[in-house]
């Protein structure tokens, strides 16, 4: 019996994995059939936000550095793509150059933000990063005079769609007798990048670098006393997170075809932080869940609130748009009350609740309180 177990578990794991893969592959078609094509576009956005949330998770979840201006890196990646691949300057550099370039530029900005804030922690760091995010947005808003670079509040339009070789994602393709509209193609590209980001996150989490991040999160002084160069390791976290944000930004610009500073405001930064915290800080599954929910839930409320009211009351009582934000806020508060560690907390946090962890929890608590 016992000997057969691991094999059986392995087979189960593979089956689950295969089922998940099939599900992810048919998801755009199923979504289109059930909810319409508009929803496939929403799913694409969800994937972009999941990438952002995963990037921020490295900074907030692993290294414990609260960054409220994270959307700035998204903006840097998006504008890099837009400026180098649109009629704005008449440049039409290929996707495989502008996307990595955007990620790299965001990485540089990550270090630029990280360097002066190394001594800050917690609320102080949050305020500085918040300022940084706003500075980037205001720059983008005002870099249209005296030399027009960003086109100011009008934003940049007619951005080149993503084209890999001769294969443009902006036109419908037929493969093996199946028709793939553009939103489906973007879905597969975003899915691939998201999976790559998940892979990178997983590998980093369980590594010497990941442990160093977590050590800094837990106790920076002790980490430095253990020989960790906290400056470099924190900069690395900022740089990695920013790189993911920049890459997501490039994809966003190519997907949307139009960007303006409005898409990179404080609300978006806060949204990404919410995804990480609500999903479960430091746990990749939780962050993915948080990202998906926070994009899909408001949309569901937007589309669902009207019809539900019609059915229940026979007329429209509250404007769905205002109801949407109200419900959304309420949902956030409720989740944080019921599951303060997030919907899907990291194994570390779950482990705290499992028995066998030691008799003397309470004896320790006061000692920790005293030291903190």
């Amino acid at each position: 019996m016992r000997i057969g177990r691991p094999v059986e578990n392995k087979r189960k794991a593979w089956l689950a994995f295969a089922a998940l893969a099939v599900m992810l592959l048919v998801l755009p078609f199923a979504t289109e059939a059930l909810l319409g094509r508009g929803w496939v576009r929403i799913v694409d956005f969800a994937l972009l936000y999941i990438m952002l949330a995963l990037g921020l998770n490295i900074v907030v979840g692993y290294a414990g550095l609260l960054d409220l201006g994270y959307i700035a890196f998204f903006a840097v990646g998006a504008y890099c793509y837009a400026l180098l691949g649109s009629p704005q300057f008449g440049l039409h550099l290929p996707f495989w150059i502008v996307l990595p370039l955007g990620a790299l530029l965001a990485c540089v900005f990550g270090v630029l933000l990280g360097a002066p804030t190394l001594r800050l922690r917690g609320d102080y760091l949050a305020i500085v990063t918040l300022g940084f995010g706003e500075i980037i947005r205001i720059f983008l808003n005002n870099l249209n005079a005296p030399v027009n670079i960003t086109n100011g509040p009008q934003g940049i339009s007619m951005i080149d769609p993503i084209r890999i070789g001769g294969f443009s994602l902006n036109s419908t393709h037929e493969l093996l007798g199946i028709t793939f509209p553009p939103v489906h193609l973007y879905y597969y590209l975003f899915l691939g990048v998201t999976l790559l980001v998940i892979f990178v996150s997983l590998r980093l989490e369980d590594s010497r670098i990941g442990r160093a991040w977590m050590a800094i999160r837990e106790d920076e002084v002790a980490a430095s006393a253990m020989g960790i160069n906290t400056r470099n390791i924190k900069l690395l976290a900022f740089a990695m997170g920013a790189t993911f944000g920049g890459a997501a930004g490039g994809l966003f610009a190519g997907f949307q075809g139009f960007i303006s500073p409005e898409s990179f405001g404080l609300t978006e930064s806060v949204m990404v932080v919410c995804m990480v915290v609500l999903g479960g800080m430091g746990n990749i599954g939780g962050v993915v869940l948080g990202g998906a929910l926070l994009v899909l839930l408001p949309e569901a409320l937007r589309h669902g609130a009207g019809p539900v009211q019609q059915v229940l009351f026979g007329k429209m009582l509250v404007d769905p748009e205002s109801l949407r934000m109200l419900m959304f806020g309420l949902a956030l508060v409720l989740v944080m009350l019921w599951r303060p560690a997030g919907l899907w907390p990291s194994t570390q946090r779950r482990r705290e609740l499992t028995p066998g962890a030691g008799v003397a929890h309470q004896e320790q608590e006061s000692v920790y309180d005293a030291s903190k």
Binding site: L204, E218, I228
Partner: protein, 259 residues
């Protein structure tokens, strides 16, 4: 090989001020290779301040420090850890939400090399290093006598084992000097005895130990030499017996415990 000096750590004329207050003034001492050196004194005498200066958490205002033949005065904690100084903390500063094993694995950080690419690609070298880190960490947990599952979160270990885990984590950095800030605070006599034996084993393996303690019995029974601080000044230094009978030390610190 050049004959190495007898002294591992030498402090000369150390001074440190906080605001207008002199926390330390003109403290000089030297610690020899392989000894257990005790630092005692009343609460607030400046022992932990001196510790923080030695380990780079505080910058000194006056004086000079030589460790293992190299002079330093303004040095970052992580570089000192590289040089071979490891420490524990009076208030226990473990990585509370990491497992016991991970805590010690963090201690291996500075003696290992895997970077971003190694972590991402997980090539043979990275995998081998990761295995070696985990193996070493398990050995060290066993060495300090932590028998609980190594997956237990640090904050869920009993108090005594947290103290030991801090020592294991410090040992993982392969120190030449192990600096312990009140390692037996809050332990009863039996637990203290067992920690004393552990410290003797550590010394026997060639690691020099610097110890802040209030447990007079432990200091007398364990240390080769003892220095006494009071109001930021060194008021006595010498063999434990000498220090115990020093009238200034009895007046400032030992009181009735001298008998």
């Amino acid at each position: 090989m050049t004959p190495r000096s007898d002294t591992l750590l030498e402090l000369t004329g150390i001074g440190k001020h906080f605001g207008g207050l002199a926390a330390l003034s003109d403290v000089s001492l030297h610690i020899r290779h392989g000894e257990i050196y005790g630092l005692i004194g009343p609460n607030g005498a400046g022992k932990t301040t001196l510790f923080n200066i030695i380990t780079g958490l505080y910058q000194l205002d006056e004086g000079a420090i030589t460790f293992d033949g190299t002079a330093y005065s303004h040095c970052k904690p992580h570089l000192l850890a590289h040089a071979g100084i490891a420490r524990t903390f009076q208030n226990i500063r473990l990585f509370a939400n990491m497992t016991a094993l991970e805590n010690v694995m963090v201690g291996r950080h500075l003696r290992t090399r895997t970077g971003i690419w190694g972590a991402l690609l997980r090539n043979a070298a990275a995998r081998a290093e990761e295995r070696a880190i985990a193996r070493r960490a398990r050995e060290l947990l066993h060495y300090v006598g932590i028998e609980r599952p190594h997956q237990t979160l640090a904050k869920h270990l009993p108090y005594g084992e947290q103290r030991r885990l801090e020592i294991a984590r410090a040992l993982a950095t392969e120190p030449k000097l192990l600096a312990l800030d009140e390692p037996v605070a809050g332990m009863n006599a039996t637990e203290t005895e067992s920690l004393k034996a552990l410290l003797q084993t550590i010394r026997a393996s060639g690691i020099t130990v610097l110890l802040i303690e209030h447990d007079v019995k432990l200091i007398l029974g364990l240390c080769d030499r003892v220095a006494v601080l009071d109001y930021g000044k060194k008021i006595a230094e010498g063999l434990p017996e000498e220090v115990r009978q020093n009238p200034a030390v009895i007046a400032a610190y030992l009181g009735g415990a001298a008998e």
